[in-house]
Amino acid sequence: MSDVAPDMRDYRAVTREIVDISLDYPDRRGWWLCFIGALVLLLSFFASVTWLFWEGVGVWGNNIPVGWGLAIANYIWFLGIGHAGTLISAMLLLLDQHWRNSLNRFAEAMTLFAVVCAGLYPLVHLGRPWLFYWMAPYPNTMTIWPQFKSPLTWDFFAVLTYLTVSVLFWYIGIVPDLASARDRATKRRQQVFYGLAALGWLGSARHWARWRQAYRLTAAIAVPLVVSVHSEISLLFAAGPIPGWTSTVFPPYFVLGAAFSGFAVVSMIAVTMRHALGLRNLVTPRHLDLLAKLLLATGLMTAYGYWAEVFDAFYGGDPQDLKTLSDRLGGAYAFTYWGAVIANFVPLQLLWWRSVRANPALLFAIGLSVTIGMWFERYMLLVTTLYRDWLVSSWHTYHPSFWDWSLFAGMLGVFLTLFLLFVRFLPVISAFEIKEATFEEKEEGGHA
């Protein structure tokens, strides 16, 4: 079965459909409206960060014992969303799933921008952010080194590696399409921009052969990298002696939750882009159906993680763990636990029906619900655990301040600004991989 509409099996039509969006954007007014909205949010980012740097982290709602508030919850949320892009792109490439070709480019772009947003959070969360480079091991006059047995140092290396690998994987994946844009460009500044970005790509057979080796090897390495990065994030929690955190369930639970939230966002982006950019021939109902199935599958695995966490507390029988559990289910922040359970798993069940999976608006709504649900989960995991520690005398509730929220809105602005620039100027779908799949299906004959 072919994944794209019949008229997209012509090589020239595919290139025209995709590359011409970058060269001559179809709906400039719509794009500008979105972009102005994103810029307003971006302004909120700069205002919040300026005020934060001026006054210090005291402008946030963080306190003792809740030293990690919205900033770290959002960090995990953004990073988790990012992981789906790598999984769709790398894992499905290795499994020779041709349908990935309509999704991988923008899913990877989502990864990049989500990782950028995630990476900014711990930086601005530092009390003295201008000393962020102290996390890196460099020879210094103080003759000290980072603490390499700490999950915080692991985190620095994991996120840095993940960002670098994601950028490179995405970039070598886009170079051949940038060459297409260079070759089709008629305006001088476009020729210069795409010409430089395409690195002089010619498409020679020898280039392609080496490119394919590097691309597939990077994909094969990227899949375990995703698992390691989010497992590592979970160790920020699980490696500490805190009831409700110190559990071996955490690494797989985090990785699956990450994939789940990311597939939700990819579904939303896919629905939006095929509508806004008229890509219905390339992102077909079959793609939405498959994304919905991935969402449903990872959602059920995440639900299993919820159950395993509860089971873990009861099975361990530690009084402090049970106390944290009861705080989650019925404490001051019970709305975050039940918010997560309901938003994550209730609308999700609609995806058992084919007619719902094929309905873009419903898929978008379910994706949005999961995105919000997973945000509740990150918030719940942090706050319900920290606000009641071992010592009753140190119990304290936590409420995000105005500046917490304004930075969150600003961070969404960072994401949207970058993503809109990507949509406007770069080929949003991998044209050459769709052509390659068409060629291979023709070669195999029969089912093309």
Binding site: D10, Y11, R12, T15, P137, T143, I144, W145, P146, Q147, F148, K149, T153, W154, F157, A158, L160, T161, T164, V165, L168, F169, I172, P176, A179, S180, R182, D183, R184, L199, G200, W201, L202, G203, S204, A205, R206, H207, W208, A209, R210, W211, R212, Q213, A214, L217, T218, I221, A222, P224, L225, S228, E232, L235, F432, E433, K435, E436, F439
Partner: protein, 186 residues
């Protein structure tokens, strides 16, 4: 990157085909006719094309492996070195703890493997480069859209402007162009 050589005024002869199968066939026939310096261009990767050109270069996978080994060494070595350089005593636990070092070792293995892989790929492909003689051919712009090209390079011992053109004619291409040499063919 090769400097332009004034003595070589021809880069090669370029034949354009409209179907990947025809390019494959042309490459095989050119190889059979004894041409050694043959290059083919396509808008997407075609596995058989590399086979037809007898391309057997596994330096990228080997470089990736090398990068992984270097990364693992650097990652682990860095942690052993810094723990000795600035020992932090945590309840008298051992200074060098392999399980605690594994995560960063793994991350740096991945980082170096990918850097070597992609860096190696670009270097072996002589990229990035700003210009190429083929960019002077108008129709070559379609090599990234839907046309397939064969080049018989001028530094092939069998290359002769007239006879090579006659040979290319027998392959029934859409068109044949003479590529002026502005740089030494690779």
């Amino acid at each position: 990157m090769h400097e332009p050589t004034p003595d070589r005024d021809v880069f090669g002869l370029l034949a354009e085909f409209d179907k990947p199968e025809r390019l494959l066939d042309a490459v095989r026939r050119a190889r059979r006719a004894g041409f050694k310096r043959v290059e083919a261009y396509s808008p997407f990767p075609i596995g058989e094309l590399a086979e037809a050109l007898d391309f057997r270069d596994n330096r990228v996978p080997w470089l990736t492996l090398l990068g992984g080994i270097v990364g693992a060494g650097v990652g682990y070595g860095m942690q052993v070195y810094t723990n000795h350089g600035f020992p932090i005593d945590i309840g008298n636990r051992p200074l060098v703890t392999p399980p605690g070092f594994m995560l960063i070792t793994f991350e740096l293995t991945v980082l170096f493997a990918v850097l070597f892989s992609i860096g190696g790929m670009l270097m072996l492909n002589h990229l990035p480069r700003l210009n190429h003689p083929l960019f002077d051919i108008r129709s070559f712009h379609l090599a990234s859209t839907d046309k397939f090209f064969l080049v018989l390079l001028s530094n092939d011992p069998k290359f002769d402007r007239e006879r090579t053109r006659t040979f290319l004619d027998t392959l029934k291409p859409v068109r044949i162009d003479l590529v002026e040499g502005t740089e030494e063919p690779e």
